[in-house]
Amino acid sequence: MTGRIAKKRGEWINRDKPLTFEYEGQVVNGYEGDTISSALWAAGIRVLGRSFKYHRARGLLSFANHDVNALMTDGEDTNIRADVWPVSQGMALSAVNTDGGVVKDRNKYIDKLSPFLPVGFYYKTFYKPKSLFPFWEDKIRKAAGLGKVNFNYPRILKPKRYAHCDVLIVGAGASGLSAAVAAAKQGLNVILVDENKQAGGSLTYDFAGDQTTADTLNNLLDEVTSNANIRLITGAYAGGYYTDHLVPIVGVDGITKVRAKTVIVASGVFEQPPVFRYNDLPGVMLGSATQRLINRYAVKPFQKGVVVTANDHGYRTALDMAAVGIEVVAVIDMRRDGAKRDLAEKVTEKGIAVHKGSCIYEVVPASNKMAVKEVVVCHYNEDTAEADPRSAVRLSCDGVAMSAGWAPAAALLYQAGTKMRFDYDVQQFVPDQLPEGVFAAGKVNGVFDLKARLLDGQRAAVEASNYLGNASELITVTNPEMASPSHPYPIVNHPKGKNFVDFDEDIQVKDFINAAKEGFDNIELMKRFTTVGMGPSQGKHSNMNAIRILARIRQLPVEKIGTTTARPFFHPTPIGHLGGRSFHPHRYTAMHQWHVDNGGVMMEAGVWMRPAYYVPAGSHLSASDAVQEEAMAVRQSVGMIDGSTLGKIEVFGQDAAAFLERFYTGKFAGQKVGGSRIAMLLDEAGVMVDDGVAVRMAEDKFYVSTNSSNAATVYREMQRNIQLWGMQVTLVNLTGAMAAMTVAGPASRSVVETLIDIDVSAQGLPDGAYKEGQVAGIDARVMRVSFVSDLAFEIHVPYKAGMHVWQALMAAGKQVGIRAFGTDAQRLLRLEMGHHLVSHDTDGLTNPFEAHSESLVAMDKDFFIGQRSLKIIEKKPLNKKLVTFVLDNGFTGELPKECNLVIENGDIKGRVTSISHSNYLNRIIGFAFVSPEQSKSGSRFQVRTDSGAMVPATVTQAPFFHLLESKGA
């Protein structure tokens, strides 16, 4: 551990717990609390990764969760951010995006080709000839990229939690901590979140050689941790801002969705690099990165370094470096006038030379191109951004700390709808107009002085408290006079380039100039052409410089260039986190266990679990055979299906009949008690959305069924319209409260009769009739509904008795061979009967006239939903008609599928909506949309199969049972 320094107050490592791990096959020592990068750096390892495009060696840059050139793979995990991820015993790490290891990466030759690979080269190069594109795509994908996706990654449940608070404070730096304490004192319930594993922000590392701010931090932390109103969450970031102050907090173990009454954004700033040639070499890093290394992890960033700065922060960095014995060769200040006097004196008192009005013209790499050998310092013209090579001086060093300014971490503010303005005093975008309930504090608010930041936090807390109804005295914060913390243009032009602006994507200054020349001179266009800000760090260290460069190219003020859109998530978030624990509610009928026990092959039908068909234990039936056998049982004897999933709604009240007349297309006012009618529902556009059966149980009471998947929708629409129409109607949704089963087939009556206490003879209960009685001792609602068979009994009983009645009926039917049938057989049976299914045989455009449902529409009523549209539609010619068809007798070719097209003279005329072979009929039958001209019985049309074969079909009448007699179409 060559780079480790003596124990420091407040360091984040635990020296009592040493550990070892591997990096690229090399054994490395570290301590608990180290990040991967800090442990590697302490061990003298400088090359932590290869760049995305040119495969240049890279080391530390930000050391703040945005070092995207230092991503690691550890077993099944990849793209691990080494700068923040804690190292652990036994890790076996390797850098991503290398071929042959990070040091000997075979793809490093691409750097030499860089003059031929400017931004956008792939847009213009590889698209011709088209046949070669897959070849090039493969090469490019292999050469450029991040970690390899592990398709065998285990599914690890990451819970998504909810949390609530009065104030959510994003950022636990000086202003955030101060805001939390002040808000809690106001009696508010506070959640304080910070992405670092410890709270404190810059109070934990920016000391300028003097750790007095640590006392400030300790005092604040004591207040925070001792206050029961404050919940401090560290190691988690606020991923985005959503309406009504919903902020997802992303931690290692999952996402917490915080619903706050107010939000204070105290998220701070990102340090921005100055741009000069070879500013990307391992050993060149941001000033704040050196401070974090030194003061959090007790690691020397280098032995002999220089500081290049365009603000006062560089001087603070130099003092921190000097305090731990690093030889600071010089502070190179790009500003003509340098720093304020007292700060400059502190630096010079340490024996550090200060070069004002100077820049690093270029960094000279060591012979292996993987380290710093020296820097070339030149006079710098701030107005032209040009260095004067004639004044070049070479300074030998092994590292460079660079500070040029800051960009606000304002993503959440943007997402909340904050109007920002560019403040020239701080050379930074700051909030100008905040949305209601959102407040900003600290550096993100343009306040940099520590005392002012502490006060700004209190101000924000008071304003948040007042927003919630308190009436505390407002606090005014005055920014003390100070040099701008950010430089307006910290760029050094160089004829040979390699002065990187975006380290994620290897974008240099010349790339922006070329993009602008090609016309991509709007910030959004430039972003997409150059890909600046589109890498994993999402422009946190590049967007501001890109804006400044574009502003200078276009000779516009920065605020005229604007910023790109800040979308959630603020930081790349694992898909496993976003998916989280999945909630997929399923509904189970009362007879579910019976289905499972008797070979039911269960499938999801909307939210319901239903048996598609049954393969009883010991049987080797194929799915198709099972379905045909079940259907045959219904045709020849008796079968029973679990129909509990049907929507079941009771409609009560003096206006019940009048309500149904308005709601459905048919007439119900004159319906007899004990009778049923088809209830077809349209939407306002006249499109069929549901059909069911309405039974009149009493003068003021109906029992209405809906399609299984529509129960909730129909019930909701009913509720809405009752309110809208002001009718005296009460609804009860019994969908889940009633089990239902249909006993169907020629022997069904004999089975039902054995268990029922009412007359269900043809006279006692004719088709369409309804009665109440007891089945197997259970109060039941019984109706004759001929959906799957001419003779069928639909029996509804309370859910809790469903299994009992089902089992009793199965037992009663045993001697006549009763068979349970599933949804697949049900579809075949209703097809044989010629009954279409709404939403299966119809679509989101089908009206009743197209689906031979005119008889269900009482156009002479005063009103029903969709009537106005139908009045318009009925005056126009139809475009399509739903017909029943049969394929030719003995057809053995490729069976058309649902959605295969009906083609006539090369034009699309319709499509197949249902098709199936019927063993009972020994024919292939179906539903199809065809042109109206093709819809007459006996008309022929052609269906094109998946392979392109044309299959002739004949329109025929339904039910299809006449085919048994005619043996033809």
């Binding site: 319901w608 009460t730 809790k800």
Partner: protein, 222 residues
Amino acid sequence: MQDVVLKSPVAFAQASKKPVNGQVNGMEIALSFADASVEAAHSETLGICDVSNLSRFGVKGPHAADWLTASNITLPAGTNRWTKLDSGSLVMRLGNTEFLLEDQPENGLCQTLSEANVNESGVHKVIRNDAAFIVSGELTPALFSEVCAIDLNGDALEDNRLVMTVIAGVSATMLKQELNGQSVYRIWCDGTYGPYMWKTLLGIIEELGGGPVGFNFYYKIN
């Protein structure tokens, strides 16, 4: 129907836990899942109990409140509130015109009301099929933070309020009551969602160190 033993809508989801089942109120229910001490620990940490077998009665309609009052039922103070009768039965007002009553095992109020004739318009009995649960323990906030978006640390359930919310994606009614000296949450949802709800909640409960609790833990049925 008297001779028919019915099953809790949650029954098949509980089978893998091999509970000791028994009949209460004409319904087969899980009486216990483990030793009393284990269930007591679950109840203290985080436990879930299926009480779907408790008798319930639903009534709805513009005159439902008057009808209940005439039947000597004390009604909650307002909508989305509940009250407990001297007999222990809960009376929940689910909306302006809708009520749900639930008995203790020994009570017969719901049965009496179910059998009562309704001779006036504007009063409609509602057939119920609820999966009903008791959730208890010190880790209930952790459980609900995963499955429910409302703030249960606030006053949402205080002062005999009940909430109709979504739990694990399912519409549910929830309240907090004292039961055997313990503060517990009550949850009702459509019985067809019962197995899903049980499995989902129990899955999280077990992750958090809790477990299932049998009916006998709360209602000492012999």
